[in-house]
Point group: C2
Chain length 101, copies 2
DNA sequence: TGGAAACATTGTAATATCTCTATATCGCTG
DNA sequence: CAGCGATATAGAGATATTACAATGTTTCCA
């Protein structure tokens, strides 16, 4: 442990936090969270139909959020159900919308 | 007002929220917040010395956060003091660090 | 087994971000 | 007013994101 006046957050923690926030910082991904706030679980089809975007785009963003650990997946036959994995995501969303958090 | 199954957040609100979150999603900017959490107000010099980055880099990021309305500025002679303008920023930070928000 | 539905992945071009370096502006003081 | 310290801005090159179109893969079922 060096004697640096380093921040409260460790190197790695900062990087991780930044990744998560940046991941949330996209209109479509925010809307996906919005959808997930109401429907616990959604399929890719439900998402791209609800948000009116290309299938590939929805899949990409869902995968991105899954990579970051924000969402989790569950396969059932031909469907893939996505849902919130990290509750902080919703908290953050709530926090930004209203100031009450 | 159309009859679309639009999300809870309006178009503009989503865009804005995304911008703010993306703005927070950068290691250096998170550290700046970290510094501001302890020193209500800081000058550019204090920031770039504390975080050990180029003066221009610190200035740029501070300006970016100012643009987004996250920080506010106050000029005093030759110094510019930056401080939190949008408390949600700290809340979000807190929210991501610990789950308690 | 062939095909359709549901997802994922890949390649690519456009755009946005970041860092770095250099330069410009502003305010103070000798 | 010359000069210095504190900030801001501009431009360029490197890297990262994003949307889109096309193609793969998996699963189910007739």
């Amino acid at each position: 442990m060096t004697t640096k006046t380093r921040a409260i957050l460790g190197e790695q923690a900062v990087e991780d936090t930044a990744h998560v926030l940046r991941c949330l910082g996209h209109p479509l991904r925010l809307r996906i969270l919005d959808v997930l706030e109401q429907s616990r679980e959604v399929t890719v089809t439900e998402v791209y139909e609800a948000l009116q975007v290309e299938q590939a785009v929805a899949s990409q963003h869902l995968t991105t959020m899954w990579d970051k650990g924000i969402l989790k997946r569950r396969k059932d036959g031909v469907h893939v159900y996505y849902s919130i994995a990290d509750e902080r995501a919703l908290k953050v969303l709530d926090c930004v919308r209203n100031a009450n958090c």
